[in-house]
Amino acid sequence: MIVWPLYSSGPRQTSLRQIEVIDQYLSPPPQSSVTVDLGPYDASLPGPLRLRLGLRPSAVGGPLGWGAEIASADFDTGYNYIGLEERVASSPIEWGSATALVEQLCGRCSQANTLAFVQAVEAMAGILVPTRAAYLRLVLVEMERITSHLLNTAETLRVLRMPEEESSLRDIRERVFHALAEWTGSRIQPGLIAFGGLSRHVDEPTSKELALAARPLERALRGHVASIINNGELAARLAGLGVIKPEQAMLAGLRGPNARASGLTHDIRAAVPTGAYEEEGVTIVAQRGGNVFARLVVRLLESLESFRIVEQALDDLPGGPVKGRVSLDVKSGSGIGRVEGPRGEVFCWISGGPEGLTGLHLSTGSFPSLGFLPSLLRGRQFDDLALLILSLDICMGCLER
C-alpha cells in the first residue's frame, strides 16, 4: 500500500507526480471494467506466461476503501517452448542423449522428471535397478523436493514482506544445495540418474557426510516451520484466501501439495510405490483448509518429511553396485513411469526401440495447476494475485517441454 503525505508540513514538498497519484486515489472508483495484460515477463508470474485479467471495481481493499476484483482471467503459453516431444516424434533420439535432454527441461524438477523417464524406459526394456541405486535415486528426488518447496515458501514470504523468515529459508535451501553439490558434484541437474541405476559411483564416506549434513539442516528447518505455522497474523492473512474445495481439486485433476492441501491424500510414493519407496515408509502430509495457508503448510511439512526420508534412506543404504546390466537393444515398445515430484505426479510415457527414443510425453503437476489458475483467480482481489499464483507453484519449464 502506498501512503502519500497528503498534508505534509516543513521542508518536504509534494511533487507533481505525487499530486497526480493522490488525485487518482481521491477520484471516485472507476465504474467500468478494465483489462490488464501481464507478461510474458512479469515478477508476479511463475515464468514466461501471458495473463489477461479483466478487472472490475471492488468495495474491498485499496488505500481509500476500494480496489480491483478479477472478473475474468485467461492465459497464453508458448513463450519458452522447447518442443522436445515434437523433436522426438520427428526423428529418433539416441538413448544416451535422451536422458540429458529430459533432465535439462527444468531446473526445479529435473530429478523427478528424469526418474519418471528412466523408469519408463526401464519398464519398456525390462531393466532391473540395483537396490543401492534405488535408494540413492530416492535421496536425489527428496532433496530436490526440499529445495523446491523451500523456494516456493521463501517466495511467498517475500511477497508477504517477511524478510527474516524468507532469508532463513533461503539460507537452509542454499545449504541443502551445498550438501548436494558436495555429494554429486553439481547443485542442480547432476546427471546421476541413468538407465539401470546411477551413472557414477557414490562411495560410502560421501553418503555418510550427506547424512551428517542433513540432520542439522532438518533441526534448523523444524524451528522455522514451527514459527511460521504458529504465526497467527500470517494464518489470518492467508487462511481465507484462494480456497479450493476437495471436489474442485479432484475435478480439476490437481496433484501433489495443491491436492493434498485440499484434503486429497493421494501421493504416488504411497499409492504406487516404486524403487526404494517400496521399502521406505512415507507419511502423507495433508490439510483440510484448501487455502493458500494450507498449501504453504503442506509444503513446509513435506520438506521436513523429505528430510526424514533422506536420513532414513541413508541410514538403510545397502551396499552393492549402483548400475545394473543395461541392454536397450530391444524390440520396439513403450513404457510408463510415475514419480511423485515436487509439484505432484510426474507421468512419463515413452516409446522406442533399437534406433532410440521415438515417442515421449511428459506430464507434470504444473499442467492441471495452470489449467485451474483462471478459476482460482476469478472473484479474487487483484492485490492477492502474486500470492494466489505462488500458492499453485507452477513450473513453466515443465509446461513448455
Binding site: 516431444e85 516424434a89 480456497v243 474442485q248 495433508a286 483440510r288 526424514r308
Partner: protein, 206 residues
Amino acid sequence: MDDLGNDPPGDAGDNKEEPVRRISEPEIIGQASPFIQDDLPEQYVPVEYDEGQLSEPSPEAEEVERQLAHYAFVREEREREVRLLFRDVPADDVAAAFRAAGASLITLAGERATPASAPEVSGKEQAERPPRRRRKRAGSQPLGALSLRYFYALGETVYTITITAPSEVVASVAPIFPVAALSERELHDRMAVVFQRPETDLPETN
C-alpha cells in the same frame, strides 16, 4: 515374458521368487512426525488416509472393460498398465466409462503416424536430391494418421487408451475431465486436432 520378448520389471532375476514386500502401507497421517500433531492449529489436523485408494481395482476395471466391450479393441497388459487400442470411437464415451468407474485422467497426448506414402530416406539420399524438389515434396506430404493417447489411473493401474482418429475430429473429454482442457488446447494449437465440445469451464471457487 511378454510378446516383445522382455521380462516385465520386477519379475526377472533374483527377485523372481520373492513377493513384493510393501511396508509403505498407509499410515495415519501425522503419526510419523509428532511435530505435525502438536504444532498445527486445530483446524489443520491431518487427514486420515483413505485405504480404499490403495485397494486392488479389479471390480472397477472389469466394469470399465465390460462397458467398453461393444467397441472392438485390442488389449495388452503389462505390469501396472493395461493398453486398449481403439479405432475411431467416441473418446467421450470411453471417458464416461472411466469416470463412472472412479478413474482419473492423468493426461493425454497426440501422435501422427509416419504416412505410408512417404518412405523413409537416409540422410545421404536426402542430401543427393536437389533442394528445390525436396522442398516441393515436403510441402505436399500428407499428414499421417492421427492417434490420441489417453492415460487413465484406476487404482494402481494405468489404462493407456489409444484411439486412432482418421477424421481428425475428436470428441472432447474436457466436459467429463476438466483437466483435459489445457492438453486439448495444446493439441489443437500444435497438431491442428479439432475437439468437439460444448463450452464448459472449470467450476468457480469460493
